[in-house]
Symmetry: C2
Subunit: 227 residues, 2 copies
Amino acid sequence: MEALASGREIEMLLVEPESLGEERLQRFTGSCLQAHIPVHQVGRRGLEKLKQTVSPQGVMAVVKERAWSLAEILRNEPSTLVAVESIRDPGNLGTIYRTAAWFGVDAILLGGNCVEATNPKVVRASMGAVFHLPVADGLDIGAELSRPELSGFSVCLADVSAPREYSEMSFTGKTILVLGGETAEFTESLKQRVDHRLRIPLAGRGDSLNVAVAAGIFMAEMAKKGA
Amino acid sequence: MEALASGREIEMLLVEPESLGEERLQRFTGSCLQAHIPVHQVGRRGLEKLKQTVSPQGVMAVVKERAWSLAEILRNEPSTLVAVESIRDPGNLGTIYRTAAWFGVDAILLGGNCVEATNPKVVRASMGAVFHLPVADGLDIGAELSRPELSGFSVCLADVSAPREYSEMSFTGKTILVLGGETAEFTESLKQRVDHRLRIPLAGRGDSLNVAVAAGIFMAEMAKKGA
């Protein structure tokens, strides 16, 4: 439904006729037919072979991949970007998409060593955000952020050992939030481009926060302060 | 390591001798022997049979379960509690433990329809927080929060349709944060006990945030404001 709402090209819809008792699914299939999307009926066993989840919803869509370049993203004059490095867990990456869509982030930039941008678990965890949010992948984040077109952006790195707390940051103006997974090693060029290293202060016990949770706390703060 | 550091009773340690080349694991096994914990050597195939994850770390501990009652938790004079209802995803629940430990929350209260408090995936996602944080499970949250001993607590419900924004809340004094999973239906007694319904405002697009992300945003705000 989110794919259809986003205007993304849906190549075909596969529906299991037994599931069509559900009204929501009936209406959705109707909308797809109306939009000239080919609808194919598949049996329960066919769906079983294709499914990637324990309890499929009786419907699958083949959605055309949409690759974004950073140049295209910049043409839309973004004001807030989130760049991630070394996020291997698809649930975490999909959750970051979902949170970014919620807080109105303009696009996601994926650096090296990340799970594939359209991994099925990423898509599911994103709850449809993957269809709405521009995502550019396979980037050398350090090199890309040094482009002259991005010179007006303040680059903020989430870093558990940073001296400054995230809540001290004003987050006014154009902002790029950079986050890394547990094993992230940032390049020299990225480190040099970073304007602010910020930490979420530890008040109890632990080595780190989950990266999707840390991303959410930063994005909430940025949204609150108008970034 | 976190289980050992927490002082929780470890009944035995199972190690795969081939993994003992790793220095960290050597030191850990040494600490367990020193603490009179029985250490058993198992082969790779034995570990394969017991493992619940794709890449086990070559070591497993049998840790004695520790059930907390709400009465015990209250004896420690907590000031911040997190109560959750209908969280079925173990990764989300474990991540909430991890975040709660980070922000110094005193204990977690689990209502009905939650994944088991000590499900292996909960334990893994908690990154050891499960051993440090008191967790009381199987509670009727509405009934428990109405106890006279909790009358001094301000009960805040995370609710996407609440009229008030979470950032407007002062979060001074004793606080109980209540969160529900996607399918949560709160009882009448809980609704009546709630002092503040608060939302994380939508700035972009989406139906909801992931519950562990929403929990993190609330806990960060509470920690910042001294709750």
